[in-house]
């Protein structure tokens, strides 16, 4: 039984430390996978986060018939890992732009297919941190959808909630996050 499987079982049994241990493992695996893929692909190639997370799951956990609970923990970790990867990349790119320095690509410069502007990504990530402090589960939903690219149905399955529930959660979360981002920007403030 792999480390990840053990950790997942512990997380399922309610060990709060397990999730913290899971994240670095998943993060490392994602980076490793991505690096492998990048090494074998033509330059400028972008990776598919959704496929990447699925593959990481298969590699780390293996069996398809794993209980969904375990999968929820895993995907939560993966979503967080993917968010970090994306944020790192966005920050680095901003640093390059703002500093006027030269674009330097190495294995760490993973080109993840991300269509949204970097500053938006950063803003959402920041708002999401605040939201997670208030409502962890809804924040998980947003991460799964936003950073892993799961559909509402897939995310609902991972989180073990019904699709209508996930849908209601999504509306509220989106409203909350948008309002928060407006506030940060100091633009159109709430009345």
């Amino acid at each position: 039984m792999s480390d990840v499987t053990l950790i997942l079982e512990r997380a399922e049994q309610g060990d709060p430390a397990a999730a913290d241990q899971l994240l670095p493992l998943v993060y490392a695996e994602l980076r490793r996978l991505a690096a492998h893929k990048m090494a074998n692909e033509a330059a400028g190639h972008t990776l598919q986060p959704t496929a990447l997370v699925h593959e990481a799951w298969l590699r780390l956990v293996g069996k398809e018939d794993q209980k969904w609970d375990g999968r929820a923990h895993f995907f939560a970790a993966a979503a967080e890992a993917m968010r970090r990867i994306l944020i790192e990349r966005a920050r680095r790119k901003q640093a390059v732009r703002h500093g006027g320095g030269q674009s330097r690509m190495d294995v760490d410069d993973l080109e993840i297919a991300a269509p949204v502007p970097d500053d938006e990504l950063l803003a959402i990530s920041e708002a999401l941190d605040k939201f997670a402090a208030r409502d962890r589960q809804k924040a998980e939903l947003v991460k799964l959808r936003y950073f892993v690219g799961l559909t509402l149905e897939e995310a609902a399955t991972v989180l073990g909630v019904s699709v209508p529930t996930a849908s209601r959660w999504w509306s509220y979360s989106r409203a909350w996050l948008c309002r928060e981002i407006e506030r940060q920007a100091g633009g159109s403030t709430s009345r």
Partner: protein
């Protein structure tokens, strides 16, 4: 989460469902003074409204990067993968690279290791492989290379380990060693057996192709080995995400030529053993011909969707056809590689092997071999020269298939599709017959192998024909299917003609047969010019190819004469028909179905020449021939019966026509159960016979049944129903139920307008029908504008020079004529004639009819000399068209004689009336069941001639004539007013001879009878009654002069008084 936060969410969610004032009202109530809550909710809602696309899309995309899968894996010899060491690359295919590798544990051995390209979901691939590993392990067959292991490389790519086979592709092996056909088949049979073994263990290969079937040589004996079992399933049977579809596509690129139709669907995961049978069929095809049914290169060129469509729908050429259509060098090479010569190669493949391959390649897998073993056994039977199971699929099946594929076209095209279907059906029936001949020959094999070969060739030829036609029909586009455009269809036919010339240069016999079917289709379509031209070409080709007597030559002769018959070129047609009949007699004797059919054509000729009696006896002979042959259970026999019925109908023998038509209908109902167009047509004919017998009740009942059947066949609202409505209206019309008929014609018109709008030929023709009925109802002022509208539509759609335009001009002219607008009517009739003459340069029935109409118009306007000119021209043309024995010619002569008499040209008038009468007498024939209309017509002929003779004071001739007439009339129509008129005419001829005593009773009988029957006398013929009185007056005046004071003067006065107050009905 606090209670306040939960409350905030609940109110937010509820408010989100509401809009505008409702939302405001809800918030007023829900927040109930809680200003903070209200502000937060509105903040959230506002933010959402202003969010734009924010968070709408994930930060990451999930589309598959398309080029990722095409990058080959990077592994080098010397690399270690699991417990395998790569030695050298030995192959590269669509989905991966194959290495020879060395296994170190648990045993040291050489293996083949295949690393799949990127784009596969490694874990899934391996999981799927694991699922099948047990089944794979059960396979143990010398012709199957075992799959030993699977795993993933460090870079996450799946790999498979297999038994190492040092061989070459089966196709290369065969070609390089110049393997003769028999050995190729033996090798292929081994492959089938291997596949059978796998199928029995529940394993489907899914990717059979030459590169997966390698041949090794052990001790000089070639041994085929099937490799890659289990890999296709592991790599393609995935749930359908974008990714897997793409993966499947990638696989596809490697092997489209071998992909089965069900695999090409790609949405279907329902693959079974018959998929492998299909691929085996492709392989066999390639082993036989060197080509795949569809060339991979061509498939790829046309694009992905078109490629899939081709595999799913296009019927490939038979292997023998493929060979015979190769360019010279290619064919020679193919033959050389098979250690034989080109003609021998084609002969070897043609027949059994064609059918075996085509059975594997059926689009409908239920029609393929059930098992690989079945295929192997059939090949073995062929090698042993035993009859094979594979045969051209049944005609019925192909027809059903064709119907299914062209459903829309078949239902909607109406006449055109029916024509094509008929053409096709003819081809298929012929082909079924030949197939039966083949079966019979097979049964009596051995001594009759020659017969068998011949039948075999005939059958495969017919199959080719049917396939070709089918292909052609597939091109029928949606516009044709909607019944709006027959142009495309005709283009298609013309193209087919071109294709025949180009593609079948070396297969003259197939070309001839195919062209023959084309001629039939053109005939059905009514394009007789085209049919004639093509039939003429075919006849020439036929004579060149077959030399003297041959059944195909006779076919061609019959076809050409049919076309000529339709074009009313009777004299040209006659020698051809006679040649066909005598050739058939020489070929197969008089006791043969083909002879009977030839008689049918001859009968049609005789009928058109006016020899109805001869036509009838010929058709009767044909029917008897079929009965003697006991071939009375086929549609061909039903058709022969139908022909006889037509002849009987025309000869006025309605009772016999009815009996035969009932037999034909019963037969067709048995042969074609349920609703079927042919049954409907036969019922329609029966309705026509009932109508002619005056049995309007039955006629109406049957015609309504036809309507019901076609409503079922076509649906309530189908435009083709208009035709049935028209026929029903026709029955009611002749029954005098004009109001009902008008309703039906209007219904038909509405149906067509609804489907075709106003600008359509059929709409115009429906308007024409209605206009005609309105004319009969005397609603001339309503009929005229309607027909003018129809004419305008026809001119726009069909152009000014079209037969339908000419017909409408003609009919409109007649409506004007009935309105006594004679000058305008004449102008219009001249226009009609001009149009018709542009269409038909020489003689044509329509031209003759219009000339006659023009004569009538001139006559009514008092232009007697003009009338004579027109009538004379009309009669001459009619004579050339239908022969001088035809009732139609008699009518034309009658017109001419009439105008001659009016002008006082009495001797020629008498001559022409006499000629006319003689024809009518012959046409009447003998026998008790005279047709009433014919008798009336004859009576008119006698009357006219008699009157002319009387005008010329030719009393003795007239007496002889009228006595002859009375003898016949006394038997056939003793109580008709015509007969009493004859008595009166006899009286006058006797009076002329001053035989007063004899004249008196004749004149009195005549007058009394006509007086009694005066209600039956048409208004136009009322003067005959008046003439009868005048004759009596004349009698007594003359008698009084000859014998004064004998009381005749009083009688003269008495009759004269009746003359002054003409017959008021008592």
């Amino acid at each position: 989460m606090s209670d306040a936060e939960q409350r905030e969410e609940a109110v937010f969610e509820a408010a989100l469902q509401l809009h505008g004032a409702q939302r405001g009202a809800y918030l007023d109530q829900a927040c109930a003074g809680d200003v903070v809550l209200r502000e937060r909710i509105e903040g959230l809602l506002g933010a959402l409204e202003r969010a734009g696309g924010l968070l709408d899309e994930p930060a990451v995309t999930r589309e598959q990067a398309s080029h990722a899968v095409l990058i080959p894996p990077t592994a080098q010899p010397g690399d270690h993968i699991g417990s395998y060491k790569l030695l050298q690359q030995i192959g590269e295919g669509g989905c991966g690279v194959v290495y020879m590798a060395e296994q170190t544990q648990p045993v040291r051995r050489r293996v083949a290791l295949k690393i799949l390209k990127l784009g596969m979901d490694t874990k899934q691939v391996i999981a799927r492989f694991e699922a099948e590993r047990q089944a794979l392990a059960l396979m143990d067959h010398p012709n199957i290379a075992k799959v030993l292991d699977a795993g993933s490389t460090d870079t996450g790519r799946p790999y498979f380990v297999m038994e190492l086979v040092r061989g070459v592709k089966i196709t290369e092996f065969c070609d390089e060693n110049r393997l003769p056909m028999r050995q190729r088949l033996e090798l292929f049979i081994q492959v089938c057996q291997a596949i059978q073994h796998a199928h029995q263990k529940g394993i489907i290969h899914r990717d059979l192709k030459p590169s997966n079937i390698l041949v090794t040589v052990n001790d000089g004996v070639p041994l085929p080995k099937v490799i890659d079992f289990g890999i296709a399933k592991a790599t393609t049977g995935q749930s359908l995400t974008d990714k897997t579809v793409f993966t499947a596509f990638e696989q596809f690129i490697g092997t489209p030529a071998y992909m089965s139709p069900e695999q090409a669907m790609m949405t279907s995961l329902d693959i079974d053993t018959r998929t492998d049978i299909y691929s085996l069929g492709v392989l066999l095809y390639e082993l036989l011909t060197g080509k795949t049914p569809f060339e991979a290169r061509e498939l790829l060129q046309v694009g992905f969707d078109e490629m899939r469509r081709t595999i799913r729908e296009k019927e490939p050429a038979r292997p023998s056809t493929r060979l015979s259509t190769m360019v010279e060098g290619e064919l020679t090479t193919a033959a050389k590689r098979r250690h034989t010569e080109a003609p021998k190669l084609i002969n070897f493949v043609r027949g059994d092997l064609d059918w075996i391959v085509m059975k594997c390649l059926e689009k409908d897998r239920s029609q393929r071999y059930e098992t690989a073993n079945g295929l192997a056994m059939d090949l073995q039977r062929h090698l042993n020269s035993e009859p094979v199971v594979a045969c051209p699929p049944s005609a019925a099946y192909r027809f059903r298939k064709l119907l299914r594929r062209n459903k829309l076209a078949f239902i909607a095209v109406g006449a055109v599709a029916v024509a094509l279907v008929v053409g096709l059906a003819v081809a298929l029936w012929q082909y079924t017959d030949k197939r039966r001949a083949y079966d019979r020959a097979v049964a009596a094999e051995g001594e009759q192998s020659r017969l068998r070969r011949q039948a075999d060739r005939e059958a495969s030829k017919s199959r080719h024909v049917a396939t070709f036609l089918e292909e052609m029909l597939k091109g029928v586009g949606p516009s044709v299917a909607l019944g709006r455009d027959t142009k495309i269809l005709r283009e298609l036919l013309d193209q087919t003609d071109g294709r025949i010339a180009r593609e079948l240069m070396d297969e003259a016999d197939v070309a001839i047969e195919l062209r023959d079917v084309l001629v039939q289709v053109y005939l059905e379509l009514g394009d007789y010019q085209r049919a004639e031209a093509l039939a003429r070409t075919n006849l020439a080709q036929c004579r060149a190819y077959y030399g003297g007597d041959h059944s195909a030559v006779a076919d061609a002769l019959e076809r050409l004469s049919q076309a000529l018959l339709q074009l009313s070129r009777l004299s040209e047609s006659e020698p051809l028909v006679l040649e066909a009949v005598s050739m058939r007699r020489r070929l197969a004797g008089t006791n043969h179905a083909n002879y009977a059919s030839a008689l049918g054509v001859l009968a049609s000729l005789r009928r058109q020449q006016g020899s109805v009696a001869e036509a009838e006896s010929l058709h009767r002979e044909a029917v008897i021939c079929f009965r003697n042959l006991r071939q009375t259970n086929s549609t061909t026999f039903a058709q022969a019966l139908g022909n006889l019925v037509t002849a009987l109908y025309e000869g006025g023998k309605f009772a016999e026509a009815e009996t035969n038509q009932v037999e034909a209908l019963t037969l067709l109902r048995n042969l074609l159960p349920g609703e079927h167009p042919a049954v409907g047509q036969a019922m329609g004919s029966l309705a026509g016979i009932y109508e002619a017998r005056g049995n309007f009740v039955e006629a109406e009942r049957v015609q309504r049944e036809v309507l019901t059947m076609n409503r079922k066949l076509l649906g309530e609202n189908h435009p083709d129903l208009a035709k049935d409505l028209n026929n029903l209206a026709g029955i009611l019309e002749s029954h005098g139920r004009l109001v009902e008929a008008e309703g039906l014609y209007r219904q038909a018109l509405a149906l067509r307008q609804q489907h075709f709008g106003t600008e359509h030929q059929l709409v115009a023709s429906s308007m024409g029908n209605l206009a005609n009925l309105l004319r009969m109802e005397g609603k001339l002022s309503e009929a005229e504008p309607l027909l003018r509208d129809a004419l305008a539509i026809q001119k726009r759609i069909l152009g000014p020079d079209h037969p339908a335009v000419s017909e409408s001009l003609n009919n409109l002219s007649l409506i004007l004529y009935f309105q006594q607008k004679l000058a305008e009517a004449e102008a219009m009739m001249r226009e009609a004639l001009t149009v018709q003459r542009k269409i038909n340069e020489g003689d044509h029935p329509a031209v003759a009819a219009m000339l006659r109409n023009l004569g009538r118009l001139a006559l009514d306007q008092g232009k007697v000399a003009d009338a004579e000119t027109e009538f004379r021209a009309a009669a001459a043309m009619r004579g050339r068209l239908v022969g001088t024995n035809h009732p139609g010619y008699a009518a034309a002569l009658n017109d001419l004689a009439y105008v001659l008499r009016v002008q006082g040209k009495l001797s020629e008038a008498e001559l022409q009336f006499g000629n006319s009468l003689n024809i009518k007498k012959q046409a009447l024939g003998t026998g008790p069941n005279y047709q009433p209309a014919r008798l009336d017509d004859l009576a008119v002929g006698y009357t006219q001639l008699a009157l002319t003779m009387l005008t010329r004071s030719n009393y003795t001739d007239c007496e002889v004539l009228v006595r002859e007439w009375l003898e016949l009339a006394g038997r056939a129509m003793p109580d008709s007013w015509h007969t009493f008129n004859a008595h009166s005419l006899l009286g006058e001829s006797l009076l002329g001879q001053r035989k007063f005593a004899d004249a008196e009773p004749a004149l009195q009988t005549g007058y009394e009878g006509m007086s009694r029957k005066q209600k039956e006398i048409p208004a136009a013929s009322r003067p005959h009654l008046e003439a009868a009185i005048r004759r009596l007056v004349n009698l007594y005046v003359a008698w009084d002069k000859a014998a004064p004071d004998s009381g005749k003067a009083e009688k003269a006065t008495e009759w004269r008084q009746r003359l002054t107050r003409p017959e008021s009905t008592p």
